[in-house]
Symmetry: C3
Subunit: 398 residues, 3 copies
């Protein structure tokens, strides 16, 4: 958990600016950094207009400063180490110490100034997915701006003109940079803080990595055969629960920046999609669902009443996406009698062990895993819990 004081005194980073003047650089807002992967309690807005903050699953929201009527944030694109789940670390690229970067929260009508500093080994830009803004602020390298060189800072300015849910990600070498984990959530809260009000408001991004067992850097050229399908760069058992009180009205906003559709399925309740990155869905247009298919580059806000007590899973319904570090080319040995073979192989290779003769549930089997590799099976999934009389967001204390 990061305290407000932590933002001010922690691993803050202020670097030389490119697009901003030397005088400007001296007054760059602090870039808070946060390297842990816990679900941080949402900070109440210290200034500016009030809003009900969202909770970022296994993540955090960025602080800002008010300056001459502008809300200023500072994002630093940089290499980060992300704990995917306890015992497994990935070398990613992110923002301000984490992948995904911090969630940006502003209020409808805010004038926003975003400082983006490039501490990657290659050029980048920032695209504000879903925002209405001037063409020059759209962040498309080679079309609306030159790329941000290594070591330089670029400034984007626009008014957060409509409330809703958005994302940010690079639009320069985007295939590589998104495969390395560069992305973040953006929420523009409504001017009237009672509008669209819910009791719980969670956000996370779907991302995917191809990290070979025993290694830690994603293969960025992989188009299809990923082996880690993650929620905010976390996999089972590293995904915190989404904790609610029974009776709460709950919203979960999910964005997809992988390479395939993810049908997000919720147990024990039905829900409606009430918003997209294009705006809020009118009541007449909503469908009742237990599974909503989220395409790449889409955001879906789902809402429901948390009526039933218990631990209910929320997961992508593609069964392979719930298997960590899964190899998809291992042959199926179901029904193959390996008993005779094993003995013979054991004469040659003493530690040889048969696998999968009775199916895939390997409880009780103790195969040594490569270094920095999660066991197959069981994730990723968020569990959302209903508790009475408590109001906590942190998985460990829930």
């Amino acid at each position: 958990m990061i305290s407000r004081r932590g933002f001010l005194t922690g691993a803050a980073t202020v670097i030389g600016a490119g697009a901003v003047s030397r005088a400007g650089a001296a007054v760059l807002p602090e870039a808070a950094s946060n390297g842990d992967a816990k679900t941080n309690p949402p900070p109440l807005p210290p200034n500016g207009r009030t809003f009900h903050p969202v909770v970022t699953l296994n993540g955090w929201s960025a602080p800002w400063r008010m300056k001459d009527g502008w809300k200023e944030f500072h994002l630093v694109a940089e290499p980060v180490i992300r704990e995917i789940a306890p015992g497994m670390y990935a070398k990613l690229w992110g923002y301000n110490g984490s992948s995904p970067g911090p969630t940006i929260e502003v209020v409808e009508g805010d004038k926003v100034r975003m400082f983006v500093t490039n501490k990657l080994p290659e050029q980048t830009t920032m695209h504000w997915h879903g925002q209405r803004l001037a063409n020059g602020m759209d962040g498309i390298a080679g079309l609306t701006q030159p790329p941000i060189p290594v070591g330089k800072t670029w400034v984007y300015e626009f008014e957060a003109s409509r409330p809703g849910t958005f994302m940010y990600h690079p639009h320069a070498d985007e295939m590589v940079q998104m495969a390395m984990g560069m992305m973040g959530f953006w929420v523009t809260h409504p001017k009237d803080s009672q509008q669209f009000r819910v009791d719980r408001d969670f956000v996370f991004l779907l991302n995917a990595y191809d990290i070979a067992p025993g290694s830690s850097t994603p293969q960025t050229n992989t188009m299809l055969d990923f082996n880690l399908w993650t929620f905010n760069s976390r996999a089972y058992p590293g995904i915190d629960p989404l904790v609610c009180r029974q009776g709460d009205r709950v919203r979960i906003r999910v964005g997809n920046l992988t390479m395939t559709n993810h049908p997000i399925h919720m147990h024990g309740h039905t829900f409606e999609v009430t918003g997209t990155d294009g705006g809020w869905v009118s009541k007449s247009a909503r469908w009742p669902e237990v599974t909503t298919d989220i395409a790449v580059g889409q955001m879906r806000a789902i809402e429901f009443d948390a009526t039933a007590l218990g631990d209910w899973t929320l997961h992508c319904h593609k069964a392979h996406h719930t298997m960590n570090a899964m190899g998809h080319t291992v042959p199926n040995m179901i029904g193959v009698d390996q008993s005779g073979i094993i003995e013979k192989i054991n004469q040659l290779v003493p530690s040889y062990m048969s696998m999968g003769e009775h199916g895939g549930a390997m409880n009780g089997m103790a195969m040594p895993l490569p270094t920095n590799t999660l066991p197959m099976g069981g994730g990723p999934r968020a569990v959302w819990r209903y508790r009475n009389g408590r109001h906590v967001y942190d998985g460990e204390s829930a």
Copy 2:
């Protein structure tokens, strides 16, 4: 076709119970078994509240018994042999002799007791996809229950509280067990049997297998490159027609438990999606479609008026999904003059034959196929036929 008597006297299976007491085991309901792959005529409900039964494409509905106000079903998870199409058999896992298992049909408000017996070589559970029930009945191994051990029976109880369309499938080693064919349909009919009434009501599941030519057991680790995309574990030409009268109001309910989206396309008519596994879609929210994209873990009920006479196809629009036993790495020889080569190879290999020089339509070519392998091309697709004055469900007699 299975007669009601067949349900009672056929290959019924009652085995030792685990979670049920010894006394309980003695009174386990009979587990009807059905190993053929024909579209069975729907049985009228022999007791309990009345409903208009659905027709399961190349499948059947499970019988039940009423006991002390509970509707009791008995599903047995077990290895099965499934005829994918005439001449090709797969070694799958299913329920009660078939894959998919039998369709469960109950009425809104029914108290339902499901006995699930595990005759697989590994542990399993049952998840009642889309149902609202107590958390302990949700069937998630390691979260809401321990897995059902080999040879044991587990009992689930809940009220079928809302009408609609659901599925059942394991939530233990689910990647393997669904890839082996473990799944089934569930319909909760409305209390008022005239509500949502249609003239024809068909159901089937989309599933997929990777069965190498000449073999019969699916590769359960395959994530993407399946070679058999099936309707209820059947492929062309093994898929029965969906027979209607001209003018009928027709509903087709389709669930997807594969690893990718299937855009189901209908010829000659337009339709609307009127229901999902989350409930019924209000009229104001419906879209006119000729193709609806069904994501993994989704159910879509489509409805239309059968106005035009003829044989119209209903198929997934991904062209490769209509090719049986398709190998996706064979190089393209279109435009490559193979004539000189053939002669030279024939001096070495007398039976060598060129392939695909003019395209892929191989009518008239007679290449020997591996054992237990369907020829490429042509399936799967359901043909739905409009006939006047007949009211039959069986493909062969239609």
Copy 3:
């Protein structure tokens, strides 16, 4: 740009007819041919009922002749050479000199007669995707008609009974023939030319090819790992801009005939899906979006007000789909220090060069490309431009 005179005097093709009589063959309508890949200005209807023509991105609309109250078109299925982008040519199959074939534009209520001549090396048929017609006109080889033999012409007749957006493609050896580029757009304009009126109305199809670097014929057995994801068989930088005036009401109709979903994302504006190949979506059912997922075999018409000036991109949000000629198995070298290795390898292979040590943005690197191969990166995407006071459709003159 093709003039009307060009249609009448150009490379027209009239060949021997099969299904039509010898007398009929003599009066086959001219089959206009167009081999260039420019966005052609839409021709105003020379006869028949009036309509507001669409603009086909990097394509053209077919001319017709009126005969005894029938609107007659002549499509010739044949091998074509398509420029994918400047410097890269593909050997495809298409219609009338191009892939996709020309857009067909008719008016609601038109009686339409389609002559389809087969100049391919194998049999084919034509399916009129989304149309309501007699079963025998549906074009399914082996079900509703025999295939059209090589060298023969088939005639289809039906009334364009409902306004909307449709496609045409073969339904014989469809996996191969669509992978070779055989497809086209079809628009049935409303009887009342003011209905559904917009200022700009663009159409294009999503298609995909697997053309190995240095070669020019697609691998038609590829199911998943395509390397050219194209708009109307064009890739970046060969895709023309969609030029509008500020304030225009714009419609873009997009159909998908690839093997996967494409989430089409628009910058700087929000839109609604107002139509599908099933009909027009009622206002109550529409969702606000910035990304709409278009499944295979679906058409989506999106509409928006072109409010913001500038160059805005329109692209599939799957990042790999914007990379030309992308190889998906190249390992990631980010963070791998290759300096020592390079020296050693250079002693053996003088021209060896390290790649990707700092990421994927290779600006300034000059690696020799194979013949007929596009460089990685940057496409495909359409840029749509807002200009004041001009009303042009051609990219080069915009």
